[in-house]
């Protein structure tokens, strides 16, 4: 069994309204020193498979096909073997 941790983040050039709103709230809560907030996703995917390499290849396809939207998002991932 392999566990993939996938991070999906908005491309730099794309506005992150959610991040902006959270930054505003942090300011009202007294954290005036917060300069930027950007919010992305962290996905944990458990896959059964033969080898780490095969799992990695699969995860890449999943990201491209479903988990990330290549038009506005970037993704990275790490795969490790688990019990």
């Amino acid at each position: 069994m392999f566990k993939a941790i996938i991070y999906v983040t908005l491309k730099e050039s794309v506005l992150d309204p959610q991040g902006v709103a959270v930054q505003g709230s942090l300011h009202t809560l007294g954290f005036a020193n917060v300069k930027e907030v950007r919010i992305g996703k962290r996905l944990e995917v458990l896959v059964e498979g033969e080898s780490k390499q095969q799992a990695e290849e699969q995860v890449k396809v999943m990201c491209e096909k479903l988990l990330a939207n290549p038009v506005i998002e970037n993704y990275t991932y790490e795969v490790e073997e688990v019990a």
Partner: protein
Amino acid sequence: MQSNQMVKSLPHEPTPEEIRDQKLYQEIGLKDEEYERVVGHLNRLPNWTEISIYSVMWSEHCSYKSSKTLLKKFPTTGPRVLQGPGEGAGVVDIGDQQAVVFKIESHNHPSAVEPFQGAATGVGGIIRDVFSMGARPIALLNSLRFGDLKTPRVRYLFEQAVEGIAHYGNRMGVPTVAGEVVFDKAYEENPLVNAMCVGLLNHHELQKGIAKGVGNPVIYVGASTGRDGIHGATFASEELSEDSEEKRPEVQAGDPFMEKLLLEACMEMVQEGLLLGIQDMGAAGLTSSSTEMSAKGKHGIELNLDLVPKREEGMTPYEIMLSESQERMLLVVEKGKEERIKQICDKGGLQSAVIGQVTEGTQYRLYFQGDLVADIPVLTLVDDAPCYVHPQKVPAYYLENEEVRPEKELAQIDPQEAMLKVLSSPNMGSKKWVYRQYDHMARASTAVLPGSDAGVIVIRGTEKALARCTDGNGRYVYLDPVQGGRIAIAESARNVICAGAEPLGVTDCLNFGSPEKPEVYWQLAQAIEGMSEACHQLQTPVVGGNVSLYNETKGEAIYPTPIVGMVGLVTKREHITTQSFKQADDLILLLGDTYAELGGSELQYLETGTISGRPPQLDLEKEQKVQRVVLQAIRQGLVASAHDLSEGGLALAVAESCMTGQKGAEISLETTLAPTVHLFSESQSRILLSVSAEKAAQVEELAKAEGVTCTRLGKVTDNDKVTFTVNGDRVIDLSLNEITQQWEEAIPCAMKQSSRSTS
């Protein structure tokens, strides 16, 4: 800042000579002769900022250069019209010093590339158009066209576009009350996403996008400017190609929360009477809003681009001017009122900045880091935009179709089989999968929810209500643009009538292919002709609209698809009528005549995978009479339900009235046509009514007085059966329960294999 400064070119940008010698203007969409025209207007070579400004302002999207002459056909005035085309949205009087404001707009190209954000920002843009008129948005509608749901990419586009519309509209607290969705292979690569917004205002609060009063400040309000959507207007005026993928980083992201802040702040400014001019920064952003306000006010404007709030470092004048960042407004107020504007914005947590002023003359000037970077006679941008009349050619397919009679073959299909097939097609199936994702009850004023002919919103504090719908059948328009154009107007008026409302006016979105193709230009001209005739006859002026051309991929144009948004006024709440059968033993009446007309019908498409022949023919005088009878009958309290016959014909209309009211029906009729042809014909100018038995005669009287055929078809029942008997033979005998299930499952079933769902 002095106006005798020389216009500068920035170091890393192409020089005026390079722009000319390497024809760089072509890359941003200008033709050689258009470039020459710019040089003539300026009396020198334009720099990069200037040529870019001309390029967006002269794009089809902003200048309507290919459609302007044709659009002149539309009637745009009438006793109720307070504002016709030309401002953010049209305005029509509804009495008591109130007016309704409405407009439809396309966001087809952005939605093809990034459907969620594309559709969402389409909704955001149209809402801004309405509140920039001073009106409070009270309802949204949308008209969608996608390819066949069997294709995964189509399912993805459809699912994401609907979610994007929901995302934006729901968060704005504006109910989405009606719309339509059609699936057809013709839209496979080039979906259509048209959004409409309706607003309400008090006459004295009507605003205009205009700059006046020398020395008055120009104020920027709303979101910061980023590099998003640069050249969106040009993008919208080109065909989709492999290249479009490259343009993706320019996708605009919407922020409905910011828009809500902007809306509330603008409403407050309107109420306090603070504004001289206000315009949304929509397509071509700061460029179009500021130049149009300047041109309309016959005043100059100068802006200091250093003062424009920016989201990214190092933005050039070109980027600042062409950015299509969302949720921004440009204001002109009297000198001295800036402080109050700032207070209102600050309270709402909204950014604002004075970025320039109104000047003497009609020169448009931009300053950047102390340099003059653009100096343009503003009227040449707006009023002297090029205007094209393209050659027209009757397409070969149109001539070939003259001889095609699809009815003969289709008559062979068993009526019951046809019924089941049509009912469970995604086109005819229930659209609940779509509209239950939209908050259609926000503002607690929706009296007719989606699922009937038109959505109805009551106006608080009055007896009045507004009915509205969108309609358009690209198949009919393709087969015969004049008839199709008439039908688009007539059907939407009919839908509004069925809700108990008197049609007030039209906003339209013309979705067509490339006007440079003679066949497409012919379609456009003919469709406008048909629409205009119908608008004249039905007295529904066109008060605003939008043109979306170049809807093609790999050289294939979509079906020519004019979408009509119609708004109607219900004068008394008790007149509000829906399509659903109400009461067992009510009689079912049909107004109008049925002919063998299956060209372009849903049955034909389902049976043959394509369309051919001629579409149904529309007689405008007859249409008007049918509509008059129904409105009279409703206002006299004679009608329990009213439903217009459209795609799927009589069979579908009866089934829909049964399913939405959860009542059975027994229909019996005599005809010289084959049963299937009679039941599924899409002949126009027909309306299905149910009335209590004692009122039927009165309705028949009304019909007779107008010379409209009125046929007793049968009655509403309390049992689980929907039956049709034709010439004595029971040709359809189905369980209400069963057909309801099939109809409701049509779209959910097709969407089962959904494709992306992590947003």
